[in-house]
Structures are given as structure tokens and as C-alpha cells.
């Protein structure tokens, strides 16, 4: 019964002193705003990275040759770990945990001539499964097939950037390009993927049959990495172990500690990025939290001044029958309301900043509901914490003294 009345009295007092209320809230507004925007930035960056890595392809695993003394165990004298096409075929046949497997051979950044001029892009030799592994669709034309891989066909699929640069406003399908004087026929264009993790352009790429790149551009049989996808998203770890085991048996190694290949999963990359970002978010949040505490002290300061300034009012209330607890409750409600309003305004500020940041940052910045909830709850807690001392001081006033106060 009393609560609503005391609540109204508290609200009245805030509204009757708008300027003072606003100034009191300012610290909380800035503090909550700062915490909300910084935490949101961190979360949005994490989401963007998760998106990015998800865009690499579902359940992607990277298999690369291990350094020869990996795991602290030295390999055989003079032996260099490497992956061959035969290994890839064996992996494809023996594995049960893997879905698609594609070798990849890189041919550095190469000058490409064709269309309206020349352009530099990275050349990757892959197999048709690459599309499935990377979860990458064709926008125009077709991808090459196994027959073209077997026949070392000089065909190429262009990334969106290459297509735009060399064939602006027209379809490159059917056109000829030359890579280091080797002519390739363009048979398809990939869908745009956007910027990569390090800010590099994933679309600035040309895909060709792995065999063609090996024989025409590299002049060897090596495979730089194998892209593989786990058949079951929940069993990425099992797939990783299986790959390592298969490569050990292919190389006749029985020691389970000795690795021929390194396997990196998206999960591990994601985890690493998340750990780094979590740390950063926590650090920024803590710094902003300091400003929130300063804001809370501001509330306490003004509330103390307010109690002194309103000594006579408190005396009147006590004289007409208010209990100390009633006065305490009213002042506490005032402090909490001030903090809550401040928290809400601060969250509003964060939404505004998020809109600006979204326009400036390479990713979308959103203020999550959890951040809003946290900010509001936290500001209420600050209100109780920093409002209690002034409120208690008010409640303990002697009515006789308070009424005499000038």
C-alpha cells in the first residue's frame, strides 16, 4: 500500500527538480552508455568474426604438413613432411568422419591478363569438392568437374573481384585469360564472399583444377593444404583425430604422438579469436565500469547535498507521522529511480553510438538485449548502493532539529 505513495513522492521530488535530477543522472548516463557501447562493440566484433569463419564453409578443417619435429619428436633424418595427391585420395577413401575433401595448391599472387587489362590475384588449384567444403556457390557458368581435373584442363573459375576488375559489366564466362602465359578458359564465376579475417579479399581469387596448377604453374606434385569438412558438425574433434591417424598410417608411423600433419578446425580459430576479443571486451568494460562507479559516487554526493538541503522537508514529514523507514524508502526510491532513468538514457546513448559505429566499422554494431538488461539492473544496484547512505542519513534526522533547520 505504502509503496505506491512513497514511489509517487519520490517521483514528484525528481520531477520538481528537473535540472538537479538531470545533472545527478549525467554520471550514470555516461557510465552506462560507455559500458553498453563498449560491450556491444566487443560482442558485435565477435559475432562478425563468427560469421566470417562460418562463411569459410561448414565444419571446415585445414590440413597442412606438420613441421618435421612437431610435437617435440624429431622426424626421420632428412625427412620433410608433405602431402601428395595420393594422400588426398587415400584420405578421401579411408575416412568415415569426413564429408568432402579437396586438395589445394597455391600459386602465389600472379599477374592475370584478360578482359580489359591485367590484375593480380591468387591462383588456387583445387578439386570439385572444394565447392562443397567451402560452401561456395557459383554465380554464373559452372564449376569444373572431376574429368577436367583428371584431364588437366585449362579452365578457371573467377572470384567476384577478379571478374569485376577484368570484365566490368560483362560476363567473363567463355572468355580467355592468361596466367603467366598459360591460357585458361573461364567457365564460371563464384558468388561474392566478402572480406576475409585479416581484411584480405576472399573474392580476389582464381580457382583452377589442382592438377593443372601443379603441372602448368608449379611444376610439381605437391599439395599445400587439404580442405576437408567434417560430416557431422558435432564430431569435428573426431574428424581431426581421424585425419591425423590416417596420415600416420600412410607414412608408416606408429607413435601416436608424432604428427605428419597439422589440423586446424574453424572451432579452434574461432576460439582463439573469441578469447582475444573476450579479453579486450572485458578490459574495455572494466574501464567503462570505473566511470560507472564514479557516476554512482556522483549520485551519492548529490543525494547527500539533497538531504541537507531538504532537512526541513524531512522534518515536516517526520512530524506529520512518517517513520524513519518511510523517509529511507523514499530517498532510496529516488536514488534508484535516478539511476534507472540514467541507465535507460545511457542505453539510449549506446543505441545512438551503435548506429554511428555501424556506419563507420566494417561490421554491424548492435546493442544486445542482455546488455540493456545488464545496464538497467546494474544501475538499479548502483542506486541502492550509493543511495543507501544518504537515505539513512535522512531517516535518522531528529525531527526537532530538522524542523529548526534554516
Amino acid at each position: 500500500m505504502k509503496w505506491q505513495k512513497l514511489f509517487r513522492a519520490a517521483l514528484d521530488s525528481i520531477l520538481k527538480n528537473r535540472m538537479r535530477s538531470l545533472l545527478t543522472m549525467l554520471g550514470i548516463i555516461i557510465g552506462v552508455g560507455a559500458v553498453a557501447i563498449l560491450v556491444s562493440l566487443g560482442q558485435s566484433a565477435q559475432a562478425a568474426i563468427a560469421d566470417e569463419i562460418g562463411g569459410l564453409g561448414a565444419n571446415l578443417l585445414f590440413v597442412s604438413p606438420a613441421p618435421s619435429d612437431a610435437g617435440g619428436v624429431r622426424g626421420q633424418e632428412g625427412r620433410q613432411n608433405e602431402i601428395t595427391m595420393a594422400d588426398v585420395d587415400a584420405l578421401r577413401q579411408q575416412s568415415i568422419e569426413l564429408g568432402a575433401v579437396s586438395p589445394a595448391t597455391f600459386s602465389g599472387g600472379s599477374q592475370i591478363i584478360g578482359g580489359i587489362g591485367n590484375w593480380s590475384a591468387s591462383i588456387q588449384g583445387v578439386s570439385p569438392e572444394y565447392q562443397a567444403v567451402r560452401n561456395w556457390d557459383i554465380a554464373q557458368g559452372t564449376f569444373f568437374d572431376q574429368a577436367e581435373v583428371d584431364g588437366r584442363a585449362k579452365v578457371a573459375v573467377l572470384g567476384q573481384t577478379v571478374a569485376d576488375e577484368l570484365f566490368p559489366g560483362q560476363s567473363p564466362v567463355g572468355a580467355q585469360i592468361r596466367v603467366r602465359n598459360v591460357p585458361f578458359k573461364v567457365i564460371g564465376v563464384l558468388e561474392a564472399k566478402g572480406g576475409g579475417l585479416g581484411g584480405d579479399d576472399q573474392d580476389n581469387v582464381i580457382l583452377a583444377p589442382v592438377t593443372t596448377v601443379q603441372s602448368r604453374l608449379r611444376g610439381d606434385n605437391s599439395v599445400d593444404v587439404v580442405f576437408a569438412s567434417a560430416a557431422d558438425p558435432g564430431r569435428v574433434d573426431a574428424a581431426e583425430a581421424e585425419i591425423k591417424a590416417i596420415f600416420r598410417s600412410l607414412n608408416g608411423i606408429s607413435d601416436p604422438e608424432q604428427q605428419v600433419v597439422d589440423v586446424q578446425s574453424q572451432a579452434s580459430i574461432l576460439e582463439f579469436a573469441n578469447t582475444a576479443l573476450n579479453l579486450l571486451t572485458a578490459l574495455l568494460g572494466a574501464i567503462a565500469g570505473v566511470s560507472l562507479v564514479v557516476g554512482g559516487i556522483g549520485i551519492m554526493n548529490i543525494m547527500l547535498v539533497s538531504v541537507t538541503e531538504r532537512t526541513r522537508e524531512i522534518g515536516i514529514r517526520l512530524a506529520v507521522g512518517a517513520r524513519g523507514g518511510d523517509v529511507l524508502t523514499q530517498f532510496l526510491i529516488e536514488a534508484v529511480l535516478l539511476c534507472l532513468f540514467g541507465g535507460l538514457l545511457g542505453t539510449g546513448l549506446a543505441f545512438g553510438f551503435a548506429a554511428i559505429a555501424s556506419a563507420l566499422a566494417p561490421f554491424e554494431v548492435t546493442v544486445g538485449m542482455d546488455v540493456v538488461l545488464l545496464a538497467v539492473v546494474f544501475s538499479a544496484v548502483i542506486g541502492v548502493f550509493f543511495g543507501f547512505y544518504p537515505a539513512r542519513k535522512a531517516a535518522r534526522l531528529d525531527p526537532i532539529e530538522a524542523l529548526r533547520y534554516e
Partner: protein
């Protein structure tokens, strides 16, 4: 130990039985210190329902101390004090607050209204702290109280828009709104000019005629002439307790303009 809530239940019975509103036995207050100050020597005082008493005395006579004790704002050093049948001396702080809320109405020299708060909201203030729920429709009651003091046309005015006399009438309405057993007025005319003083006394006489018990602390002899009984303190002791002979009628004084007796200064 009697509590305010039981006090509420027996107060109608108490009034019916004619029990005194205020009854003190050896009520005394001493301020301890290097040299103890006997602000109030043991005092026996009885005030019955319907009385209109002036408590007089010069500064330092102990009348403010008595007022604070009777108003349940302070606790006595020794002695007992029954307010409307409830022993006050050993009540807790909260119980005294409840007692003030139920049985007392205060009028102060400085009006003590909440600034930036309308007359009706000021009058509502005591009802905010009513724990008994005995007052239904608080706002109607506040309007009623303001009507009773003649301010029904000033309900939504804030104190800064009212004259001193009007502000004091708002304060009187606030003191009446909880239907107190006794209305305590501490120098209610101290900040008012002569005519307004008589107006306020006229209001008090009207209220007293309607059965309300009033106790006025004052140092102005003219004010006491409108009361029915005068009690005078000096150095913490009761030196006079007598019925007012030839009590002045404030209404008539206002009508004839006689009152405006030059107050000796």
C-alpha cells in the same frame, strides 16, 4: 506495553469515557552535560477534550521542550505522559511516529509547507503515512479540510502563490486532515501581522467550538486572550494555570476592527 495500533482501537472509547486528552505526571526533561539543564521540571498537567489552552512563557521557559514532549517528538527524562489514553514515555521512535500520524496535528510558526507542492498535496501529506487505512478517499478529505479553513478556491496553489495567512491556513488544514485528538500549534501567529493573527485565532475558535482540542504555544499575551485557559511556564516550572476571564471573540474583533489592539512591543 501499549502500542499505537491498540491505541487506535480504544481511542473512541477513551473519548467517550471523558478521559483526558493529555495527562502528564512528573513529566521532566533534563539535558545532560557538564552542567545539566533542567529544561522542564516535573510537571503534572491535564488537558481535557474540547479545551483551548495557551502555553505561555518567555524564551527559555521550557515551553518548547513541553511542546516537543507533548508532540511526541522527544522523550522525557522522567515521568509519564498519556496521550489520548496511550502511555508515550517508553514508545519506540516508530511508535511515536505512528502516534503523531494518528493523534496529533502540528501547526508551526514558519508554516513548514512543502515548496513547489500544491495546497491540496500539502494537506494530503500526513495521510501518506497513515498506516491504519482509517481515512478513506484521502483527496476528498484534504479538500474538505481546506474548505474548513476557507481555502476551497486555492486548492492547486503552491505556497509561493499564497499569503502568509493563507499558508498558515493550509498548515492548519494539514493538521486537521487526520482527525487528531489534539492540535498542537507552536507560535502559529509569530510570522503574521496583527489582523492575520486575529484571523487565525478566529479559525482556531471556530474549530474549538466544533469540538477540537487545541494547544497553542505563544509568547504573545494577546493571543492567549482568545484561548479558554492559560498555562504559563518559567524556568521549566508551571507558574500559572488559570481560566481566561472575558475571553475575546476573534470574529467580533474582526467585524468591529477593535482587535487590532496595538500590540505592545
Amino acid at each position: 506495553m501499549s502500542t499505537p495500533s491498540t491505541a487506535t482501537s480504544n481511542s473512541p472509547a477513551a473519548s467517550a469515557s471523558g478521559e483526558p486528552v493529555i495527562l502528564t505526571r512528573g513529566l521532566a526533561k533534563t539535558y545532560e552535560g557538564a552542567e545539566p539543564v533542567h529544561a522542564l521540571r516535573p510537571l503534572d498537567l491535564q488537558i481535557d477534550r474540547g479545551e483551548f489552552v495557551a502555553v505561555m512563557g518567555v524564551s527559555g521557559s521550557g515551553k518548547s521542550t513541553l511542546m516537543n514532549l507533548l508532540g511526541c517528538l522527544d522523550t522525557p527524562t522522567t515521568g509519564s505522559y498519556h496521550l489520548d489514553g496511550v502511555e508515550v514515555a517508553d514508545l519506540t521512535r516508530n511508535q511515536r511516529a505512528d502516534l503523531r500520524s494518528q493523534k496529533l496535528g502540528f501547526v508551526f510558526q514558519g508554516f513548514n509547507l512543502l515548496a513547489r507542492t500544491t495546497a491540496v498535496d500539502n494537506v494530503l501529506l500526513p495521510l501518506l503515512y497513515d498506516r491504519t487505512g482509517r481515512i478513506k478517499k484521502p483527496r476528498d478529505r484534504a479538500v474538505e479540510a481546506l474548505t474548513r479553513v476557507g481555502l476551497e478556491h486555492r486548492l492547486d496553489h503552491v505556497p509561493s502563490e499564497l499569503s502568509g495567512g493563507q499558508q498558515q491556513r493550509v498548515a492548519i488544514a494539514r493538521a486537521l486532515v487526520n482527525e487528531p485528538a489534539v492540535l498542537l500549534a507552536d507560535e502559529p501567529t509569530g510570522n503574521l501581522d496583527t489582523r492575520t493573527t486575529v484571523e487565525v485565532m478566529a479559525l482556531f475558535q471556530d474549530l474549538n467550538d466544533a469540538g477540537i482540542t487545541i494547544l497553542v504555544v505563544t509568547h504573545e499575551p494577546e493571543v492567549s486572550e482568545y484561548c479558554r485557559r492559560v498555562v504559563e511556564l518559567r524556568d521549566g516550572r508551571l507558574i500559572r494555570d488559570e481560566t481566561v476571564e472575558d475571553r475575546r471573540d476573534a470574529r467580533r474583533d474582526l467585524a468591529t476592527d477593535t482587535p487590532l489592539i496595538p500590540l505592545p512591543e
